[in-house]
């Protein structure tokens, strides 16, 4: 495992808010990320996964303007990088108007698997409200790891007959029309009668 992946693993495992013990103690927001029981056990490209996030306000005051979003990290050796969610999910973020003290907010996150590899997913939340100015940064859920197996989605057995058959059929039609046209065309001898 490379240095980058170790660092990323540390950040995700500890949560982005876990920089220091005192900061962690002050965090009123807690996030849990739970994979759906219906998720395939060995997901492949093209499958869909669903996760449920539960954001809880453990603080004394209501928190408003909470933005939650999905963070997806590829952790394959040599390919460690955050994944652009374009094509993976149409649901990039949600805005929760307010979470009262002691209350929770649930959100479902749908993910379609586009590329094979090892991934860690987490949900990050931050509030823009003044009441939580003391929060030094966004709060992240513990990450959930999953592996996507590759799948050749375009089947040769279907493509080859179509890719060769249709042009051949049109080509045959062309030749037939050409031969028919030549037979019908009057020769100079015919014209001379």
């Amino acid at each position: 495992m490379s240095v980058v992946s170790i660092a990323a693993a540390f950040l995700l495992a500890a949560g982005l808010s876990g920089g220091s013990a005192s900061a962690a103690a002050a965090e009123p927001l807690k996030i849990e990320l739970i994979p759906s029981p219906s998720n395939p056990s060995a997901p492949r490209i093209g499958d869909a996964l669903m996760f449920r996030s539960v954001i809880r306000n453990d603080g004394q005051k209501a928190i408003s303007g909470v933005i939650a979003w999905v963070s997806l990290l590829e952790v394959d050796p040599g390919k460690e990088h955050p994944v652009d969610l374009e094509d993976w999910s149409a649901q990039k973020a949600v805005v929760l108007a307010q979470i009262a003290s002691g209350q929770t907010a649930e959100t479902k996150w749908h993910l379609r698997l586009i590329q094979s590899g090892k991934y860690w997913i987490s949900v990050v939340a931050a509030s823009t409200a003044d009441a939580v100015d003391r929060i030094s940064g966004p709060v992240a859920s513990p990450s959930v790891a999953f592996t996507v197996a590759s799948k050749p989605v375009v089947e040769t057995g279907r493509v080859l007959p179509i890719a060769s058959g249709v042009p051949l059929a049109i080509g045959a039609l062309l030749l037939w029309r050409g031969a028919r046209g030549r037979r019908r065309r009057p020769t100079p001898k015919d014209a001379g009668g």
Binding site: I45, G46, E86, D87, S89, A90, R112, I114, Q115, S116, S150, K151, P152, V153, V154, E155, T156, R158, V159, L160, P161, I162, A163, S164, V166, P167, I170, G171, L173, L174, R177, G178, G181
Partner: protein
């Protein structure tokens, strides 16, 4: 009676082998011309060549998908999206060429004046020529269906992709047909109309070649808003890849439809001013 008819109409009546009222009026005249244009595109040997070329392009793309390891791992929805974009681009190119030839080509072949002398309203002439383009586009759609099935039937959103191709692709394809027709009527030359039309097509279709990164810049966003090609591709992306409902794509459809109406208005204006001699 046939001997006194203008050439194009009498030829159509003989070729169609059915009763066409003379003088043809309004919709009947338009249908007559549309049937002539359509039969030239589908039954004529030279006309069939474009159909073969379309097949070869789609076959090449499909074979590339199965022969290239990386491309073969593309998600089905991505493949359907790519193929829908390719078919729409080919359709726009086809109708542009057919449209440029509709008036400009008639002038080049010396058959425009007899056509204009036919007792047909200019609107019927325009409708008939557009009808021919619609026949060609329909043939291309039928050709594309087995390819879409071959590359996309093992995944999701194939039906949505086909619906997008028909509902969102048709306005943009006909828009380029109208543009070609209007340019042909304006320049009275298929070559000039085609040159200008191709430049417009390449500019409009450039989003199909640009990556998402470039399209997120301020200029890219502005182009996406006004460019019908971008609007349609974004809508196909949303429906086929992101699985959004097709009925929510009203704005891209409205953009494409507005451009179609504008091109139709321009085509009608130029065709109604046709005299058969350069202005």
């Amino acid at each position: 009676m046939d001997e006194k008819m203008p050439g194009a109409i009498s030829m159509v009546r003989r070729r169609c082998g059915r009763s066409v009222p003379y003088p043809p009026r309004g919709l009947t005249g338009a249908l007559t011309i549309a049937s002539k244009e359509g039969s030239e595109l589908l039954m004529n040997q030279r006309g069939l060549l474009w159909l073969l070329v379309t097949c070869l392009v789609l076959s090449a793309f499909a074979l590339l998908l199965v022969s290239d390891t990386e491309l073969g791992l593309l998600d089905n929805a991505q493949v359907v999206y790519d193929m829908v974009g390719l078919v729409i681009s080919l359709g726009a190119l086809l109708t542009l060429v057919v449209g440029a030839d509709a008036i400009g080509g008639e002038q080049d072949r010396g058959s425009l004046v007899p056509l204009l002398l036919a007792p047909l309203p200019r609107s019927a002439l325009l409708l008939g020529k557009l009808g021919g383009q619609l026949v060609a586009w329909t043939a291309m759609l039928i050709i594309a269906l087995p390819y879409l099935w071959a590359v996309g039937s093992t995944g999701q959103n194939l039906a949505a992709g086909i619906a997008c191709l028909i509902l969102l692709g048709t306005p943009i394809v006909l828009m380029f047909g109208c543009l070609g027709l209007a340019l042909g009527a304006k320049f009275l030359s298929a070559r000039s109309a085609l040159t200008v039309g191709l430049v417009v097509l390449i500019l409009a279709a450039s989003p199909a070649m640009l990556g998402p990164g470039l399209r997120q810049t301020a200029i890219g966003v502005a182009v996406d808003w006004v460019n019908p090609f971008s609007a349609i591709l974004n809508a196909v992306d949303a429906v086929v890849i992101d699985s959004e409902p097709a009925l929510t794509q009203t704005t891209p459809f409205a953009v494409a439809f507005a451009w179609l109406l504008l091109a139709l208005w321009y085509a009608r204006r130029t065709v109604s001013r046709l005299t058969g001699s350069p202005q």
